[in-house]
């Protein structure tokens, strides 16, 4: 069910997943997310892409804003966000396991 929620975000679905992963160990503001995501995935999200994904995730109730510290506003994963993230990652893990098994079986 929840699987479709990120896929429906089109080109924002991958940045959205990366943001959810980034927030999984605690709230972060935009700049911290960009850095964290870059170290996790090697991809540096542009500000327009990051905030396109943040605004969608917020609207879907998967992340929530916290009070701003100076101008930087941290975001946290909501309960719904954690559920969606778990579902997404489980699916990816199954895919990864299946792929790796096939590789070792044929090579």
């Amino acid at each position: 069910m929840t699987r479709d929620r990120l896929a429906a975000l089109g080109r924002f679905s991958e940045p959205a997943l990366l943001i959810l992963i980034s927030l999984a160990d605690g709230p972060k503001h935009g700049y911290a997310m960009v850095h964290d995501i870059q170290s996790l995935s090697g991809e540096r999200l542009g500000p327009g892409t990051l905030y396109g994904a943040i605004s969608r995730l917020e609207r879907l109730g998967l992340i929530a804003p916290l009070p701003a510290d100076d101008r930087r506003r941290p975001y946290e994963l909501t309960q719904a966000g954690a559920t969606v993230l778990r579902t997404e990652l489980d699916a990816l893990a199954r895919l990864s396991t299946a792929g790796l098994q096939r590789l070792t079986a044929t090579v």
């Binding site: 429906a8 089109g10 080109r11 924002f12 503001h29 935009g30 542009g46 905030y51 943040i54 605004s55």
Partner: protein, 214 residues
Amino acid sequence: MKRLLALYPRAWRQRYGDEFLALLEAERPAARLVLDVVVGALDAWLRPQVGRAAAPASAGGARRGSGHDVLDKFTRRSRNVLQSAADEADTLRNDFIGTEHLLLGLLHEPNGFAIAVLRSLAVEPATVREAVEARLGIGTGGRHQERSLTPRAKKAIHLSVEEAQRLRHPYVGTEHILLGLMREGEGIAATVLTELTRVDLTELRRRVVRALND
């Protein structure tokens, strides 16, 4: 960098402006970054996620709130066209981005199919610019000001996506933007295109298909 924020809708700026600027200021300015933000701003106009202004688009049909992005399938060149349109509005001191700026934006991609199609109709880019600028005075607004996307420009962008779908093309190229501008029908771009090319939408579509097959 601050001027880039002015491209976003007011409701969006009220909600995200401060934190977005804080992020922008921390980034090193680069062409890729500017393009990312310009496309982000147009996305915020086309698929508003903030406020009651999130009205469904008149054309394009996608439901509100699904978050799907109109600009999803835009090619690199098409994205450049959007950025050039924003730059043109800035240079001309117009406080809006209209169909005329999108048309001028197309001229910045001389190797795109849009220009090839216009040339096949004996229309040179310089002529297009002249015709647009004759209809468009220099605005009174300052540069780097707040800038909105006009409803017609919005419609033309949605229609360019539809034109791509109609031709069963999996991307939105400059040629589809050209068709979208023509099909919009009422803006300065459509007027200028009709006048200069002396063809209608059906013939323009035919020319696009021919240019792609050449």
